[in-house]
Amino acid sequence: MNFNQDEIIKEVFEKKNQINSNTFTITRFILLTLLSYFIDGLQFRELKASLKISDGNIASNLLYLTKMGYINKNALEFDNKKLHYYTITENGKEELKKILNWMELIKKLLGETNNE
């Protein structure tokens, strides 16, 4: 019997419902992670250069995160060029934290299994 593992498994399933499943795609998760690290904000072209996916794909994911209130889109004029940069909001940080805590639980569960 392993009551501890039982509790963790139960928690993994319970906490799964607290995460916005639409946010938990690789691209959206990475976008939130990057914007949480670079709190200065990131330009669209910087995200494009690093993620190496199409403009449309990045734009639609950024639009979703903006609509959910997880990130802000800001206008910027650089060298007479009109650009945009994105920053994470408090809601975005909170959502990322929920995902990370959930992943931590899974890590804990698998750690417990490996220790048997």
Binding site: L34, I39, D40, E46, S50, N80
Partner: protein, 181 residues
């Protein structure tokens, strides 16, 4: 306030660089990051650690400091006193970067290119210029080719010491000067 941040403020003060509060202005944050990196790279005594990828050179420690005390970027209050060696470094950056004619139209892109090229040259000291060019374009696809070429030349000037000047080096400088024209 951290010792490093006091030094950054003294640098901006020396250059008479009055920027908007970084917590309110992305351009200020961008400029402070790139210039602080160049200062450190040239030997100005700073402990900030910088990374290159995505938005670099970028320091989370520096970010934390200017978000904690953004008003200092406006008031430029500091008790750090620049010494002779510091001033030599700052004058060199001013001469080769801040007042370069290209900054009239492409200040941000030039700062990003120079700091990126410098970082790559430090990270990969054995890389040839064309490899540095390719690597810079790989991590910063949006930088103009011509600006990267000028940045490579500028970094050479920044890193140059009189004892390096051999005939071979002079020939190479001439080739890159022609490319810049």
């Amino acid at each position: 306030m951290s010792e490093d941040f006091k030094k950054v403020i003294s640098v901006l003060k020396y250059w008479d660089m009055y920027l908007e509060r970084p917590n309110r202005n992305y351009g200020s944050r961008f400029k402070i990051q790139k210039l602080t990196y160049l200062c450190k790279s040239m030997g100005f005594p700073l402990k900030y650690q910088f990374t290159l990828y995505i938005s670099g050179p970028y320091s989370t420690g520096l970010t934390r400091d200017y978000f904690n005390a953004p008003q200092l970027i406006e008031t430029l209050e500091t008790d750090y006193i620049l010494n002779e060696v510091d001033l030599e470094i700052l004058d060199k950056i001013n001469e080769y970067v801040l007042i370069h004619p290209i900054t009239n139209n492409y200040e941000s892109e030039f700062l990003e290119a120079v700091s990126t090229v410098d970082y790559l040259k430090k990270r990969y000291p054995d890389m040839l210029d064309d490899e540095i060019f390719a690597k810079t374009k790989e991590v910063k696809q949006y930088l103009k080719d011509s600006i990267v070429v000028i940045a490579i030349n500028t970094v050479k000037k920044l890193l140059f010491k009189p004892e390096f000047l051999t005939e071979e080096v002079q020939e190479e400088i001439d080739i890159w000067d022609k490319a810049e024209d």
